[in-house]
Amino acid sequence: MRNLYKYLIYVSLATFTCINSSFARDPVGAATLKENPNLPVDYVWILICAFLVMFMQAGFAMLESGFCRAKNVTNIIAKNLIDFCLGSIIFFAFGYALMMGDDWHGLIGTTGWFMFGEYYDVSKYLNMFWMLVFCATSATIVSGAVAERLKFGAYLIYTLVVTGIIYPIYGHWAWGGGWLSKIPLGLGFLDFAGSGVVHALGGFVGLAGALVLGPRYGKYKNGVPQAIPGHSVSLAALGVLILWFGWFGFNPGSTYSAHHLKISIVALNTNLAAAAGGISALLISYFNTGKWDITMALNGVIAGLVAITASCAWVEGWAAILIGFIAGGLMYFSVRLLDSAGIDDPVGAVSVHGICGLWGLLTVGIFADGTYGVYSVEPPYAVGLLYGGGWGQFLAQLVGLVVLFIWAFGAGYVLFKVMDRLFGIRVSPEEELKGLDIYEHGVPAYPDFYSKV
């Protein structure tokens, strides 16, 4: 037993070293390796998972373009590509410093600008890369909610602000040693891989954008919401399967250590929730319309993935199924609700990432089963309501959730509103009708094919 604890300490130390290397700076990597010869497998694990997360960009690009009309495909793809490009540079330049730099009063980070000086270091760069791909995921979610009508120029500015300010600040609160991670309830606010930090944040900034923009031309006829079918089910499905694949980097990789064998449980939980989300969305829509609506099932899979993201390391398999199943239903009804409320979210980003992201945060407070700590196999372990953990953790989650919603929606709203006042963020009606591709980009997505009226 004592040996076991020694082991736990050793492993945690390894992980810790990996994040906060104590060397001044080590761009060669030799000193870091010497300090902890077990690091290579952690580096391999973290990097490959980061690659998978990066690949989710392709998933988003395909899913969102599949769910848009052919005349706006170039535009939505351009947005998905460029937010990653621009976000990479911005987050490198100052987003990372704001998020993960030395803490200032629990509010923001303050060191690491441009990764200069002591940040030119193998473990700092590793961490930077890891955080970057998550930031980019969050940023790209918004493109779906504002699709088919937001000016490309406005999207560039949005990207600057979200990857440079909005995301890093909340990220600091939750993951960068900021105040949320330290609230004295349960183990503090917990969001394992970012149901909230990444997905709900993106979702609610997107909600703000959709609200400021208003619905697409033709979305409502005499107040009744209309369906506007996307141009390619095959691309959308490809996108979902790529996202599912990439999520295996997102969630299991968030142990930030291969020495936590928990990664196997995280992986399986991720898969189960995705599957359950797809099934529940499919069944619900079948009972409602008598058709096997695969477009809903596609969204359901993502809903399940988003929901399990916060709790995947803390719950059992059966709970993962339940979490995913509920997420699929939540998403379904949220989509219809937003539609009825006059909010036009072309790809369902708000419901999938926003609503299910919040649900994910709560699941930690409910289902956490006391077998994993705060990115550590050492106690204290997170325990939720169902496992006798009391209301502490649940309340911590609730606080984080409320703060998240206010921050994301508020900051997003201000951002889009200010831009709209300054130069107008919506394309002209004529442009919207003819499609953004030719006006903004000069190139239709499928010049060789006839598209319908």
């Binding site: 769910f67 919401p225 209309q226 369906a227 506007i228 079918p229 996307g230 829509s285 409602n288 319309t289 058709k291 609506d293 477009t295 809903m296 969204n299 379904y332 989509v335 219809r336 539609d339 369902g348 319908k452 009226v453």
Partner: protein
């Protein structure tokens, strides 16, 4: 010479094609995909949980120019082969063609058919 424009169900196209083949005088035709709107009610489709009505249904337009003598045969065989009896079977329009030219040979009139 007459031009026969027949708007038919896509799923009947194969049959109509075979029927027309068997008419001697009828050597050629052109086919276009159109979207049609008539008495037939549109389909209900759905996307991401919301149903919507597609008012225009896919139809096939066959254009075929034939001599006045062949007209009856052509119309009859289309009528027979495109028939299902359900709303949406389509229509045949007949109009006058003043002249025809075969590009390859420069022949004109009935010769060119």
């Amino acid at each position: 010479m007459k031009k026969v424009e027949a708007i038919i169900r896509p799923e009947k196209f194969e049959e109509v094609k075979e029927a027309l083949k068997s008419i001697k005088g009828c050597s050629g035709m052109s086919v276009t995909r159109v979207e049609g709107h008539g008495r037939q009610k549109g389909l209900v489709e759905q996307f991401r949980g919301r149903e919507f009505k597609v008012e225009f249904l896919p139809k096939v337009k066959i254009e075929l120019v034939c001599s006045d003598e062949d007209l009856k045969d052509v119309v009859d065989s289309i009528l027979k082969s495109a028939y299902t009896g359900e709303i949406g079977d389509g229509k045949i329009f007949i109009s006058e063609i003043l002249d025809v030219v075969r590009i390859r040979t420069g022949e004109r009139g009935k010769e060119a058919l």
